[in-house]
Symmetry: D2
Subunit: 421 residues, 4 copies
């Protein structure tokens, strides 16, 4: 037949089953370490696909209670697909990664957003809200997400990998462990912890490795929680399908790993597992710029965003300053994190006036295409951060109404089976 000839599917270099626990599958790993060998190798310029489980490795279900969130095992996260080596890449090069598409599995057209318990995961307002597990399940209808747990909203996904990075060199890994260890030492009893040291329990590499290598990886391997110089868990929503990213290369082959796919996320991803978490398939093309680290002063990834990121031009924008006006009124010194939190709290208070619960509002701001800008970081002592909610994602008008908002209830998100919120 005319159309069959030369119809060649792009190869999938890592295949997974999104319904199986991650630690039963090949091509996955959940720690960063230079000694994890490449699971697959690709040539520059080749289009290829990588399948990913959701970040927890199939721990969270499509149901109406949050008990699975409450009891999630965080020693096992994030489950990454890789490493994928790119032929010819060497330390000091720049790895150009085209994120060509990010899609959920056809057989799993849903994802979730979670508020984690204060003592198991936490989140931006874990302390303020004394967080209890809560959850929203999102159904995927093509490019859109809706949730039975947060009625009245529908938005287009800005699908992206929450976590993508090249492998660290031994030196870089050592630096990470040292500096984060120092921070932990300063905040020894923090709940939730300020950082996570290497943790052999739950460590996993889905390859046949000699026991000493496996043990070394488990003992030394950096946790995947934070983003670092190699990329990692940056949770940047605009590192989305269609973007082109430039990574520094630290080891031969670059050894790219990816996971924590998101169907959507708001800037900040505030509720810890704030994005719409999903399993899915990412399509890549990689190229190499020799010596790119020096050419571009490439200390961390840079990227060019996608032309298909959703555009919602009508927005309502909240401001926040580095004064804890929602708490005890403390004056902070040019602290953009505090300012972001105040902007978010202003937005949550507003959404509550409309009729959403605090938990629904928190989940929605985490998951929807919220934009948060650093307004000003100059006017001592008050940093100013803004947070914008697109109005067109609602099926009702949310702009300030001179009459005030009508009394309305949108129910509640999924909460713990014991009813504690």
């Amino acid at each position: 037949m005319a159309t069959r000839a030369n119809s060649v599917e792009h190869p999938t270099v890592i295949k997974v089953d999104p319904f199986l626990p991650a630690d039963q599958q090949k091509g996955l790993h959940n720690r960063w370490h230079p000694d994890i060998p490449p699971f697959a190798t690709v040539k520059p310029g080749q289009t290829f696909k990588v399948e990913c489980v959701d970040w927890t490795g199939a721990q969270i279900g499509n149901n109406d209670t949050s008990d699975d969130i409450k009891n999630v095992d965080l020693t096992k996260v994030h489950n990454l697909s890789g490493p994928v080596a790119v032929e010819g890449a060497e330390p000091g090069d720049c790895l150009v990664v085209d994120i060509l598409d990010v899609q959920p599995f056809d057989k799993m057209p849903w994802g979730y957003t979670g508020i984690f318990e204060l003592a198991n995961g936490g989140g931006l307002f874990a302390q303020e809200f004394q967080s209890r597990a809560a959850k929203a399940i999102w159904d995927f209808d093509g490019i859109y997400a809706t949730s039975r747990h947060i009625p009245g909203v529908r938005f287009a996904g800005v699908t992206h990998p929450g976590l993508i990075g090249t492998a660290p060199s031994p030196e870089l890994l050592a630096k990470w462990n040292e500096r984060e260890g120092g921070l932990i030492a300063q905040h020894i009893n923090a709940v939730p912890p300020v950082a996570f040291p290497p943790e052999p329990i739950g460590a996993y590499v889905g390859q046949d490795l000699p026991a000493p290598v496996r043990e070394k990886v488990a003992r030394e391997g950096a946790r995947t929680i934070p983003g670092r110089e190699h990329g990692g868990n940056c949770d940047i929503k605009n590192l989305s399908r269609g973007s082109r990213c430039y990574f520094p290369v630290f080891v031969k082959g670059a050894n790219l790993s990816v996971g924590d796919l998101h169907f959507s996320q708001g800037d900040g991803e505030m509720s810890f597992c704030g994005a719409i978490e999903m399993a899915g398939i990412i399509t890549f093309k990689c190229n190499i710029i020799k010596g790119g680290v020096e050419k571009f002063a490439l200390r961390q990834p840079i990227f060019v965003p996608s032309p298909v990121d959703p555009v919602y031009s009508s927005k309502i924008i909240f401001e926040g300053l580095s004064v804890d006006i929602h708490g005890d009124g403390t004056q902070y010194n040019m602290d953009a994190s505090v300012a972001y939190k105040q902007a978010a709290l202003n937005a949550i208070a507003y959404l509550q006036k409309i009729g959403y619960t605090r938990e629904q509002a928190y989940l929605l701001l985490s998951a929807a295409p919220i934009e948060s800008h650093v307004g000003a970081l100059v006017d001592s002592p008050n940093a100013c951060v803004t947070l914008a909610i697109p109005t067109a994602i609602f099926d009702h008008d949310i702009l300030p109404n001179p009459e005030g908002f009508p009394e309305r209830s949108f129910g509640q998100c999924a909460i713990r089976s014991d009813g504690v919120v």
Copy 2:
């Protein structure tokens, strides 16, 4: 004549001369205090104009050295036009302010961006760079700005007031002074200072006031440097012409003041006087929503952005984390301010590879329509902030080039007459 009938110009309720020192003019003030009476009164729904001097009150000149920046008198800032009372506004109401236009004066088609001395103003990188005064003059050609001090760029202005707010109540003013005083007490010898207590020297109200009132304002009046609950110096570039803003009202009449007009600004406005500062004319319409503070949980201003903000879809984006990789490598704990700084330093390093000096890059990122998003504030311990430079503002290609960038010089910005940088 047919067109003359019913042609009624919008009234200008405050007129100033941008060439005269602010403290020689009526309708200006440079402290926040509830006892400053309204200089003008408008009706709800009326379109009116307010003229503004530049924030320094005519201290900075269109020339090629930065000595005026070095020696600027900061006790006299910001020079605000107002207050303007809106008939019928009462505490607890929401003042809806349409920012209908923001234009420079025809007779002063230029503005400036400055790096201030470490010891006189400072700025985001005052310590890191041991800042010395530097400056770029921008010429306004209609909607565009260009600078002889930063060749090769041209961009459309997102004209806006850096500073706009309603007058505080006595209680609110007292709260400000208390909490900022506390912070100052904690950082008693900071250079630059972390905050600014009331300062009688330089205090100015351009109205005929009884001496006791004038003295009270000078003694108690809050400095205009930071943004606060009433708005104030938020320096949000998207609070621009065409936006609709909702302010809480704290005193009878609302008593709106405005100043610090900007022709353009990047998110963050990093170099202290980082926007393109200008004198000019702002056009307003105000309306009142009774009881709006309660109706909308209005703790701080909210706003709806403008449909005419410049759109540059092609961008290059830099990441930053809360690790001081450009300095001593310190690991911070979820600090978005540090992350913003690292993203900015990554961008500055990149622009230096292209051929701009550090000072030019610093000024450019402050003044051009840079977008900075809070990427993630969830992945302990690393906050992630991004900073995006639109590529189309350059007349040359700034995307990563596999060959690296050609050697090129763009000269230098205006520096001190003693040559110290």
Copy 3:
């Protein structure tokens, strides 16, 4: 003073009074002819301003009847400011024109949109609607327009010159007159006419000219109604402030003329005087590319649009085909004009369901930032054209509502004093 030094206003090379009849003023003309000498001369790279009367030259008033529209003298239009010669421009060059800003006069903050009588001006639906004069007056509040004659809408202007062009050479003028004369000869009794031959009555050049030159211009000068190879009355809304245009040069100096300023316009400008017509000030910068006609195959102007054109992402879009389904059902052959008209009639019918009158809808689609795309011009026999209305310009929801629209009236636009519609 610091700010006064080197503050140089951009020069205004043509000044007019928008309240005076055009034929009493200097620097205006209303015919195209190579023998009209330049009224002003500028250097390449110089920023300058040109003032313009409205296209009718002060014939239309800010009032509530359309009698002035009914009786307008169209022999006197369009009143253009110019010509402005650019030093060094020669035939075959490309004149690069930066349209840096377009603003109404402060003293005339209003404009108008008109439906013209079938027999005096006409318009796209002159025959279908047996058009009678009608009008909407628009008030300018900074970047926004609203109309007491079409309540419930507010939109940002995409300010632009409806008419801008370089002077024709004698050969080009002769070609215009010949080809348009031929068309007129084919449709000798058309009402409204299909084209307009040279017309000495009403011809005007606001310069001291020898009588023979003046008479020649009046006798031969091309009417300004249509756009042609030199630009002219193209009425392209996106040739707006911030755009950069490339014109072919036909005579020494290029001799640029401009007029017919619009505060806003919809694609198509259907109701003849469909834009929001205004008097105002346009800011330019011109440069020359030698031999640009050959370098860029420049048979007509090309342009790069502005980054500040208003963005309204939410729209409702109507389709039209080249079948006259709103009339007698005639099947046309790939006729995009018919398709555009059907799309517009579909939109008008929809707006009438919402509660606007046919005349209000016709005026609104002409004046608001409507987008009309040529969908397909390939599927014989039906061309397909779309017409998009931004939803955010309404203060009420206009998307299809399952319940249908509530009964509502928006009054009527300005009509004739005899009440005939």
Copy 4:
């Protein structure tokens, strides 16, 4: 497993093999007729998928000659998937169709754009160019398309169905046949034909039907070439994934059919098969608004566009008027089709200056996300149409360069094996 429970894939109600001739497959048809029974039935609110072959039904191959285009059998087009009945839909209702996604088959990651022979398909410039078959094959890399036949460009697809519509009633079908028959009668010897009457040869319905029904459909069924009141082959690129469309319903069940999927298309789709044609999968959700035809004056489909259509803000725009300046100079009367053609010819001439062949330019303008606006349809006798090329789809700068463009060749597209162009 936690993630497996309640993971329910959206059903695919019509499945096809893109590699098999369409007339060997079930669920396809290529004529419009009310007697074609629904092949599948869905409930309102249900998300479902429909698979589609390419419009020719597997006639065109991924190779480097255009012989398959030259010899294509057009009696067999378009091959549509359907009809799909929606429970409860009745004549007079409005069928709300959410186009939730449009994707190519994984196993067929490519598409094609063709110039058809003058005598077999034609196209907008068939006469002007005396068109010979030519072709570009496009490779799909996630959201992007590139072509070995048109080097130097890459763009994001605006994936959409070229053809989608509800079934006609007997009355509507009769009207179509009558009016198009009349046009054919007026242009009896036109090459290519102006319209296409019912044609039994090649007619196909992939269902078990009684012979009389099958024969009636073949004898009376409307060809699928043009768009009509029910939608049909409108080839509107923005009827894309993420859009919501409102169709009038003419028969019980609405009987929706879809096909002619496009990966991308320029406004106008000028070269007949100008879009990037593909086989693929479309995801839908349908709802019903009772009596919607009356409620919304719904004579033809209306739609709300998608938030994920690609955004390219930087463009170069060409103008065209209704004067055939590229041909014999004929003056047309307000003819937007002529104006569109002139704008396209101006753009083609420009692209040839850059180094593309005429055929490459023609294919590129047809396939890439070109925007064409009806600028003005008011300035007798010259309609004005614009055509905008996004600059960021090129990997080289295409803006006018004062030096002119460097000599450069981009090869040629696929042409006939006999070398005739």
